[in-house]
């Protein structure tokens, strides 16, 4: 069972190493609202001190930092045997930077500007991977159930027939139940496309899915968050 937002205790500790105060503030606030305990370090040295002193569950590290850059910070953490999963933030989108970041010991990579929804999803995926929570075989949101093994979807006990893409989209939304997912995230998870098509492909698929899981029922589960994306919540 996946519940909205409170999948993690406030015990989940995140370290944010970011020098831009505005970005740091909105990321920290967003993570706290999602139930994380967040420490913020404004430069690489402060980040290193904090990471050495406290065992964090996840670290979000910007690459361009004063005093000690992000890559060198990650390198130093790994050298000291600190295995905290790291999400790298960078303003550069070159593939080489991404490769270098991941080789140095980063676990995931996000390019600025990013949607906060995407950052949250990635951070939670890293925590989940690290804590090795058992994979559920059934996803449930309210009276909507998706069986990952039999690939059956039911709502209020009635079976719903979904096409493969619709199933993939619903699975992704249910795994992220309660969290907003952006169109870009859907595009890269459902189609594995990593560029922006010019047309509203995602809108079309979402409205098809909505037609099947929401329209015949009074209570709506799939909501559009204007300008941000979609969210599945009871």
């Amino acid at each position: 069972m996946i519940s909205c937002r409170h999948g993690y205790d406030a015990d989940v500790r995140a370290l944010l190493v970011e020098d831009d105060p505005t970005i740091a503030e909105f990321v920290a606030r967003g993570l706290r609202e999602a139930g994380f305990a967040v420490d913020h370090a404004p430069d690489g040295e402060a980040g290193l001190t904090a990471a050495v002193a406290t065992p964090y569950d996840v670290a979000i590290i910007d690459l361009m930092l004063p005093k000690r850059d992000g890559l060198s910070l990650i390198e130093e953490l790994r050298r000291r045997g600190i295995t905290t999963p790291v999400l790298i933030l960078s303003a550069r989108r070159e593939i080489d930077d991404r490769v270098r970041g991941l080789q140095t010991g980063g676990d995931d990579y996000l390019t600025k500007p990013f949607a906060f929804a995407e950052l949250l999803a990635r951070v939670q995926a890293l925590v989940r991977r690290a804590t090795r929570a058992p994979e559920p075989t059934t996803l449930t949101v309210d009276d909507l159930t998706l069986d990952l093994l039999t690939r059956r979807v039911t709502r209020a006990g009635k079976p719903i027939d979904l096409r493969p893409r619709e199933f993939a989209l619903l699975e992704y939304l249910m795994r992220n139940a309660g969290r907003v997912v952006s169109k870009t995230m859907i595009l890269s998870h459902v189609w594995e496309y990593n560029f922006d098509p010019q047309t509203n492909i995602v809108d079309v698929l979402v409205s098809r899915l909505r037609e099947k899981i929401d329209r015949p029922f009074e209570k709506k589960l799939l909501h559009t968050v204007r300008g941000v994306g979609y969210v599945l919540r009871p």
């Binding site: 500007p113 098509p197 010019q198």
Partner: protein
């Protein structure tokens, strides 16, 4: 020119070459002069010697036949008429030497003599003046000296001229490089010396000059492309940023209203997403156009690319009521063409008959997706979009046909231009960058794009790529 201290370098270089040239030339000439003089001198001496020897032979045989008196008579008669009078004397044992001929004014020190002993111990001696010979050699020496002087003059001036013509292109090249460094202007070119120099200027320096110009062309192209890209990006971002700012400003200026604020914020997020997409696309286009796009090349079957792009758009096409189909005919024979509606599955052209290009898979997917996007967007309900992959004249061909409204002839050449949006397309959502990106990516892969369109009939977009 001479006021520039750096020119001294090339000057000195030229002078050094000229001096070397002249020195070698002069040494060679002097050696030839000396050998010539020596050989002439030796051969003149030998001739004189032979004359004396043959006279001695004559006189010895006369003496042997007729004794001293006959010889004396013969010598006197001969020397009266001879053009060049010789010194002749006979020395018998115990007798005073008898001088038979002694031409006036002869300096004994300038006489070369030859002697032959006869059977009775008598010596016959013949002498010849060396003066005419010395005279000749002296005049010869004077002539040779003059020649040597001329050679030196010619060598120096010739050396200077030759070096000048060799150094001038280098100097021009240096001056051009210096000008470019000083002014930062990359449109300067080094004049290629071919009109008066060697024909075809395929010598080393001509080649260097041409290569240098080619390099400047390339640098200028890259710089211009980057400058253009920067200008374009800053220009193109102004409009969405104005919208962004305007939306926020309007919301702030209006009376507090939560719904209105939410609406404005949502618009701001959407607009900034659009700015980001635009920025990424513009960067992609300028990278592809300037040749700095990193292509991860691998053999890519075009049918796979098309399959994925069609898969992406089939729902959109369905909703719009447009039939999106794939025609695959890997071999360029029109009759074997098969048309497969997407709904019933895409039949992949198999194995070695597949059309494979050596390219960046993601970028090629972008090309196919953008072309299909474009076609689906402009094709009205009930229309058809057909994607075709085939081999044609040694090229891989990706063709997208639609039954849309077509493109007016006057707009055709401009559809590949950045941010150009035809009258028909203004109503549609989009950035106006899709086709420019297609063109840039295809050309970065060494391919070409083309479009044919008939207003009212639809359009055909064709991408030609070299087979991998």
């Amino acid at each position: 020119m001479s006021s520039d201290p750096k020119l001294v370098l090339t000057r000195a270089f030229g002078l050094r070459i000229a001096l070397w040239y002249a020195t070698l030339f002069v040494i060679g000439a002097i050696a030839i002069v000396f050998v010539t003089y020596y050989l002439t001198k030796v051969s003149l001496e030998q001739r004189d010697h032979q004359i004396l020897q043959s006279k001695l032979g004559d006189y010895a045989s006369v003496y042997a036949r007729g004794g001293f008196n006959t010889l004396a008579a013969m010598v006197r008669a001969e020397q009266q008429t001879a053009p060049e009078r010789l010194f002749v004397r006979v020395v018998s044992r115990g007798v005073e030497a008898v001088v038979l001929s002694n031409p006036n004014g002869w300096d004994p020190s300038k006489i070369e003599t030859a002697t032959v002993p006869l059977s009775d111990g008598t010596l016959v001696q013949v002498g010849k003046s060396t003066e005419p010979r010395e005279d000749l050699l002296a005049r010869f020496r004077a002539a040779l000296g003059l020649v040597t002087l001329l050679v030196v003059v010619i060598a120096l001036s010739g050396g200077w001229l030759v070096t000048q013509s060799a150094v001038t292109p280098i100097r021009r090249l240096t001056a051009a490089v210096r000008r470019i460094i000083r002014t930062g202007r990359t449109d300067a070119r080094v004049p290629v010396a071919g009109t008066r120099g060697s024909p075809g200027n395929n010598d080393a320096i001509g080649e260097l000059t041409e290569l240098f110009n080619v390099m400047l062309d390339k640098i200028e192209g890259v710089v211009a492309a980057m400058r253009g890209a920067l200008d374009n990006v800053s220009h193109d971002l102004r409009t969405p940023l104005t919208r962004l700012r305007g939306t926020a400003e309007l919301a702030l200026a209006s009376p507090p209203d939560l719904e209105r604020y939410r609406e404005a914020l949502a618009l701001c997020v959407e607009e900034s997403d659009r700015v980001l997409v635009m920025l990424n696309t513009l960067m992609d286009i300028s990278e592809a156009e300037s040749g700095t796009m990193q292509l991860r090349r691998e053999p890519v079957p075009l049918s796979e690319v098309v399959e994925r792009a069609v898969d992406l758009y089939k729902d959109v096409a369905d909703v719009k009521g447009v039939t999106l189909s794939v025609q695959s005919s890997p071999v360029a024979s029109g009759s074997s063409r098969t048309s497969t509606p997407v709904a019933s599955g895409f039949s992949r052209t198999g194995g070695d008959t597949d059309v494979v290009v050596n390219g960046d898979r993601t970028r090629l997917e972008q090309v196919a997706a953008n072309l299909i996007d474009n076609a689906v967007k402009y094709t009205p309900s009930g229309g058809r979009v057909a994607v075709e992959v085939r081999r044609e004249n040694g090229n891989a061909v990706l063709r997208v046909r639609d039954t849309g409204p077509g493109i007016p002839p006057d707009e055709l050449p401009r559809i590949w231009t950045r941010l150009f949006r035809g009258d028909a397309s203004r109503a549609e959502r989009g950035l106006g960058l899709g086709l420019s990106l297609v063109k840039a990516i295809v050309e970065a892969h060494g391919g070409t794009v083309a479009v044919e369109s008939e207003p009212g009939q639809g359009s055909v977009f064709t991408v030609l790529l070299p087979l991998g």
